[in-house]
């Protein structure tokens, strides 16, 4: 029994249960780090790496065959390209609505435009910084997950041959 499970690239039930419990928590922490990128240490890159590590946890615990049925590397790649597109489009909006490429045109506007005063940390501050953080987070989550998934699939297929 145990050897069969190992051959399929899975781990034991204990590890699988813990991974299933930790996966949503890791995703929530990743979204927290991305959303608070303009308030606390962290940001798009760090939060995206946390989110990709959640996917890696699933791959390690359940085996790449099981994970591949639920999510595909093509979908992750599209997600990543979408993040890059949002980044560039927001940057070009700065060129047309304000002075230059990547200009922060949302400061002092009603949405995302609040300037924090003494000891305040409002979530709707920072201008375009939260949007760029979300875009970079999408990029890193999609990119790292796609790379890990496709490399795991390749090594799995090599073992089977």
């Amino acid at each position: 029994m145990k050897n069969e499970e190992m051959n399929e690239g899975k781990m034991t039930v204990i590890v699988q249960t813990i991974a299933a419990l930790l996966f949503p928590l890791a995703l929530i922490f990743s979204f927290y780090v991305i959303m608070h990128g303009h308030l606390t240490p962290g940001g798009g890159f760090q939060g995206g790496a946390i989110g990709a590590s959640a996917v890696v946890l699933l791959i390690v615990a359940y085996g790449v065959k099981h994970v591949e049925e639920k999510m595909s590397e093509g979908g992750f790649s599209v997600f990543e390209s979408l993040g890059g597109l949002i980044f560039v489009v927001v940057a070009i909006f700065g060129l047309f609505l304000a002075t230059s490429f990547l200009a922060n045109f949302l400061v002092n506007e009603p949405i995302f435009g609040k300037i924090p005063g003494w000891g305040e940390s409002p979530l709707n501050s920072g201008g375009i910084l939260p949007i760029l953080n979300i875009a970079v987070g999408m990029k890193v989550i999609g990119g790292l997950s796609a790379v890990v998934l496709i490399l795991a699939l390749i090594s799995r297929e090599g073992e089977e041959k």
Partner: protein
């Protein structure tokens, strides 16, 4: 060697513990800033002294990172605003790496 590692562990542990104990509250400036600059209008951080300009006549920080970008975290305002091109380049590096891996190892859909 094991003893040395244990001593290093204890010293590092207490360093981290002390840092966590001394860290300021969420969103609060360092405690000594308000006494040094009592009339500062916005939250003044250490980075603001590099990026911002302290007006000695009015006693206010002008063109500070907090006022210009509206972000509490000045490091993020540098990474995404003042040096936004750099971040765009980093994102491009990531995109190129993943495009290369997909080209090398991508499989055709059955």
């Amino acid at each position: 060697m094991k003893k040395l590692a244990f001593i290093a562990f204890v010293v590092f542990f207490f360093f981290l513990f002390y840092s966590a104990y001394e860290i300021r509250d969420f969103g609060n400036p360092p405690s000594n800033v308000k006494e040094t600059f009592p009339d500062a209008k916005y939250k003044v951080t250490m980075d603001d002294r590099i990026i911002g300009k302290y007006n000695t006549t009015t006693g206010e920080w002008e063109y500070g990172a907090v006022e210009e970008t509206g972000a509490n975290n000045v490091v993020t305002s540098v990474v995404f605003d003042y040096r936004g091109y750099d971040t765009l380049g980093e994102a491009t590096v990531l995109f190129t790496a993943i495009a290369g891996i997909m080209l090398l190892f991508g499989r055709e859909k059955k």
